[in-house]
Symmetry: C2
Subunit: 130 residues, 2 copies
DNA sequence: ATAGGGCTTCCAGTCGCTGGAAGGTCAAGA
DNA sequence: TCTTGACCTTCCAGCGACTGGAAGCCCTAT
């Protein structure tokens, strides 16, 4: 398979796939013309990576997950720990964003949104909350 | 005031303040020794920027907000529109993260987390959900 | 022969800082 | 007066995870 085919099948941009090779996540073969030549196993890895990235794992987490995946002597505890740490980060992020959302939606509610200059949003930014 | 003083008062790192000058958000004076010399108005702007950034506005949004703040012929509708657009992005992001969180916490729950290799997290990444 | 699409590499840019190197300035203490 | 140490300056590089674009080769169809 050429890069276009795997890109399509894995649902990743070709650019991203080249980048993943660059940073050593995959190592496709090369055809005589210099084109990358992907095996099924490469496609499989790329799909794995795509799903891990979609769950928000960092590239370095993905590298670790891939290594664990390929190591049949792994302990599932290692995977779980990684996933739990990541989950905790996501939860933190959600909490942060919710706090922003709450403040912001209060401010938006208070703003008349007409052609007059008075604006509680700007007042809040200028002087701090309430 | 020197940069250290404003950094302390505005709650921003000195590096960040220099960066804000670099990109033209503030233009402090210069003392004869070359040190930046901050007026109260600079401090005020920095505090404004700090609060806007804490609400997740991008730097470009901050630039716009600052301009609106300093324009007393502004229409509050312009501020409100900007804030609402930003709010919508935050809500999207929260939705995304919640979806990751839900998937991930399901997977984590299903994983034994012991020293055996079997792991539903890896299985899911390898083959897709369910 | 040519046109088009796909492939290659390499470089630069994104965003918002952050770290570090190399060096000038200032106030306090010996 | 000299030195120490904290402050300030500029400039350059790096973070994460791509993404865009330029320049050029390869392959297939007309």
């Amino acid at each position: 398979m050429n890069i276009g085919d795997v890109a399509q099948k894995a649902g990743l941009p070709a650019k991203t796939i080249r980048y993943y090779e660059d940073i050593g996540l995959i190592t496709p073969l090369r055809d005589t013309n210099g084109y990358r030549l992907f095996r099924e196993s490469d496609l499989h890895k790329l799909a794995f990576l795509g799903r891990a990235r979609a769950l928000g794992f960092t590239i370095e987490d993905c590298r670790t997950l891939l290594a664990l995946y390929e190591d049949d002597t792994r302990a599932s505890a290692d995977v779980k720990d990684l996933a739990q740490a990541h989950l905790a980060k996501i939860e933190d992020k959600i909490t942060q964003l919710e706090s922003m959302r709450d403040t912001l939606s209060d401010l938006v509610k208070c703003c008349a949104g007409d052609n007059r200059p008075d604006c509680p949003i700007l007042s809040d930014l200028a002087t701090g909350p309430h």
